[in-house]
Amino acid sequence: MKLSYKVFLDWVDFSGGAKDLANVLADLGFPNDGITAVGGGLDQVVVGKVLTKTKHPEADRLNLLTVDIGSEQLPIVCGAHNMKVGDFVALAPIGATIPGKDGQGMAMKEAKIRGQTSKGMCCSLVELQLANESEGILILPSEKISDKDLGRKVSELFDWQDWILEVDITPNRGDALCVRGLAREVAAKLGLKMKTLNTIKWKNPVSTVNPFIESFSDASGFAACLVNGVKFGETPEKWQNFLKSFGARSISNLVDITNIVMFELGHPLHFFDADKVDAQTIGVRRARPGETLVLLNDTVLELHPDDLVIADATGPLSLAGVMGGAKSSISETTKNILIEVASFNPASIRATTRRHQIFSESSVRFEKGLTIFHLDEVIERALALLKELSDFEIAAGTKIVDKQIQPKQILWDRGRIEAKLGKIGKTDDELFEFLRRLEYSFEPKGSTVAVNFPWYRTDVQHLEDVMEDIGRLLGYENLEKKPLVSFESKKFWKDLTPELKLSDQILDSFISFGFSEAIHLSFSSPALEKKLGYEGDDFVVVENPIHSEKSVLRRSILPGLLARAKENAFNGEDEIRLVEVGPIYSASGETIFEESPKAERLSIACVWLPRPQDKKHLWNPNTDPFFIFKGMMESIWSPFKMRPARNLQIPAFYPKRILNHPHGFAGELHPTVLKAMDLSGRAFVGEWLIQGRLADERYEFPFIYPSIDMDASFVAGENLSVGAMMECFQKTKAPYLEWVRPYDIFQSEDLKPKKKSMTFAMRYRNLERTLTLEEAKNSHEQLIASVLKTFQPFEIALR
């Protein structure tokens, strides 16, 4: 809410500046989004009078002025044209600093403009922060100044200087969206006195209004008052400025009064043209099916049966709490008015504003909740303003219908208060005194005291609400501070820490292989997911997505990660290795949480897109990236034992270039997937489910006896795979074999056509004693014999 510092001072004798006020409000729970200065440079500019005005000899668009500031007559070059000889202007002399057009500050120096000296500047409204836009320079109103004021500071003559605080009001404090609400808070905290408000209580009420409320659950109070003989007209400047400071504009004196009262007291009210409504049948009810209403802004609204309207026997007159209707609105011909003040169900107003997307200063207040008490006070203030701004003949008296609710009450319990706020160094009576300033009241009840909540608060009912007000008034910083103490928590929920520890370790392992971690939004689109094979209706679907590409939750990390890898490629990034760990979602299936509405599982995925420039390294650039990827995956996953994964969609892989992992998949993507993703080059990907926990780690003694290393080279048909050879070596179970590694594989002209050479290194070791050469040789021969026999069909031979 916009709060004018100057307006605020009309309510409380506050001695600090605007920034002090902002700080006090923040300490009370009303922080601000900034303070805008109005007329920031007014104490820098002086009253000047234009003595001469001629065209600049060198530039048609400039004027040469002589401006009298009492002590001297200054030559001024001015770009504006709206001044005439004899006008009073706001002159910034040499040495002055005014806010300037951008508000960043502008210091006046003597200048030569196209050969003409200028000793100052005639300021515009914008340059003095008095308006956001203006034409020409500011001409000071001559009726308030005379020649003896020349040279005086403009700020001494006009009280235009102000600061507008953009105050944040939390949704529970609909009552604080007004000057009185905030003034009451500040006065209570600082112990200041509130100024009394000018109201008119109309004696001898003879009501001619007979309002009704259809349902007290929709509206809990309705007050109405007929006023005869009002005079339609313009609003005086003082009140126009008041409205301007709240960001509102003046419409007519009668309409303005409703806004003034709303900004002052926080309770919206409405004036109907009394000659266009039936005061005997007016009230608040739900709209009937098919009813329509033409609003003040000429919108024709098809009413919903849940909308609340103010209506009379002829039909809806206004959209209750939101906007008035055109038919019954105030116009130049208005002579008599009907004032309506009500309290509506906030949820109903909120639903209506959202249904029709119509928001107003009034609806903003009603949807946060407004009291049903003191409705007559709102009318009494309106009457006083009617007297001041319009005049009237008779007010027929206020008639109120309401739900007859009692203000909320609770028992004082100091023990409970201190148990939660900490020790408070004030007596009960001192605290009561503080709270009375917020219009709490207290009465003895048995052995304790009953606390009556302030009439204007709709959000309070617990002792904790009183605690908060005590805290606010004393200052949260003055509450008792305690040292950090810790107790071990009881645990009775499914503990996910083991899964997360596991995922952390796996993630760290990927990082050590040059993968960088990406974190993406959980959203995806069915089209994107489909490219990696995820189809069907198992998606978690967002009802109100921000964007069609964010309409479902991802069923797999891979599609989004691959798309991001592609963007990185597009942006010219090198060494595109990305890993992401996080939740994946599906409508059904296994889930890691108890009582989980949809299935959520923890997954980790990686993408490697080798780029052409990645090969441009000095060393070893010719290894096929498939083997680099395979090696990384073997190294990363070897320490982890994972549970097999179910329900994991495997994308199309390049034939045979798949690494089989029970808990997921990895490999080189099929070219058709690359094409679907609009990717060039090759792509290596993997995705795995993280389930289970880290195995308990176990260590063993290291070996102490020496090993014997041997080699074996074979020539065989080119179709014999290394994998088949390795499998055979393993199956042979040759004694003492510690490992076998292929280390040289080639085809060349030296070999017969369609043959290849494969060389393996073997290590033999006896863990219990030193292995003899004889034993190693026997084992080695056994191994070779087995291979030669098994792969006879491939014409295998030793080289």
């Binding site: 009370l28 729970g29 922080p31 939390t170 949704p171 529970n172 909120r350 639903a351 148990a419 939660k420 706020l421 900490g422 904790e464 605690m467 908060e468 805290g471 606010r472 949260y476 509450l479 008792e480 501070k481 305690k482 040292p483 103490v485 810790s486 107790f487 071990e488 928590s489 009881k490 009775f492 929920w493 996910l496 997360l500 952390d504 760290d508 040059g514 960088s516 971690e517 993406h520 939004l521 959980s522 967002v542 009802e543 109100n544 921000i546 991001r564 990034e573 060494e575 290795r577 990305l578 996080g582 979602y585 949480f593 989980s596 509405p597 949809k598 959520e600 390294h617 000095l618 070893n620």
Partner: protein, 357 residues
Amino acid sequence: MAELTSSKTIDLLKTLSSEAKEKISAAKLAVDVEQVRVSYFGKKGFISEVLASLKNFNAEARKEIGQVSNQVREELESLLSQKKAELETRELDQKLLKDQLDPTAPGVFYPRGELHPIRKVLREAVQIFEKAGLTPAYGPEVEYENYCFDKLNFKPGHAARDMQATFFVKNQGTERLVLRTHTSPVQVRILLKAAQNNFELPIRVQIPGRVYRVDDDSTHAPMFHQIEGLAVDRTATMGDLRAVLDYFFRNFFDEKTKIRFRPSFFPFTEPSAEVDASCVFCKGSGCKVCKQSGWLEVAGAGLVHPEVFDLCGWDSKSVQGWAFGLGIERLAMLKLGIPDLRLFFENRLSFLRAAQK
């Protein structure tokens, strides 16, 4: 043959010794040193030959000559090995320096990987809260509207719901589902579970996780991360809450960091507070980041609302607790100097790898 006198032989040994010393010191290569050794101590070496003639002397002379020759041998052997080692080292160095390897060529390239800044901050925050005795707990992101709002005292149709613009999730069942707008529904889950477990106390948990709001501009992302804290026992006060947050921010930023509480409003806490930390950039003296206030808004907090206890099956008169929530992205931006929220989810490698330690 007349008995030889020892003195002549001793003189000879001394002459040979000084000759040898000269040769040793003149040696240029390790092989030269070895040659000297052979020519004096080899089978036919000068000194060996002298010693071979010892049998011609009487016992006394043998003893005399023996003493001298031992001295000479020890001295020369030591000089020889010293010189040899010296020359060998020099020769090796010369050989290594002549090597053709160009050490100015680059090393084998290994790309560097980095954790995401959100992960770094999330891990650190969880660790600090663990030290403050808060056990991690987790819950689903697709959540019952009831847990996300109603049970946290967001009244149906109340304007407080506008504080958290909500994504709804399609559901066949009767329960309305949302993407959780905060981690607080896990509070509800824990309180409900504890109510089924004889209201065992204390509960001291932290709840890290992803949350969602319908918001997408330069300072809001539709998904972000929070850590929630919750303590429930019979004595938890505003002072205890403050102690935990004070501990956290001193450890997370630096020991001099101060915090302050300001009144605020959340439907699920009463009293509620907005928590500020002294500005990490200007240390509280006022700068652009903190809008000259010296303070940065870093968390929301308060005492668990009695309605929340009652709605979750507890007796709000006999239990009390505190809760807080903080945004990880905001903390990461402050701690790591990240200039724009959008960078987090763009996942550009040159951003992710930019971290300087």
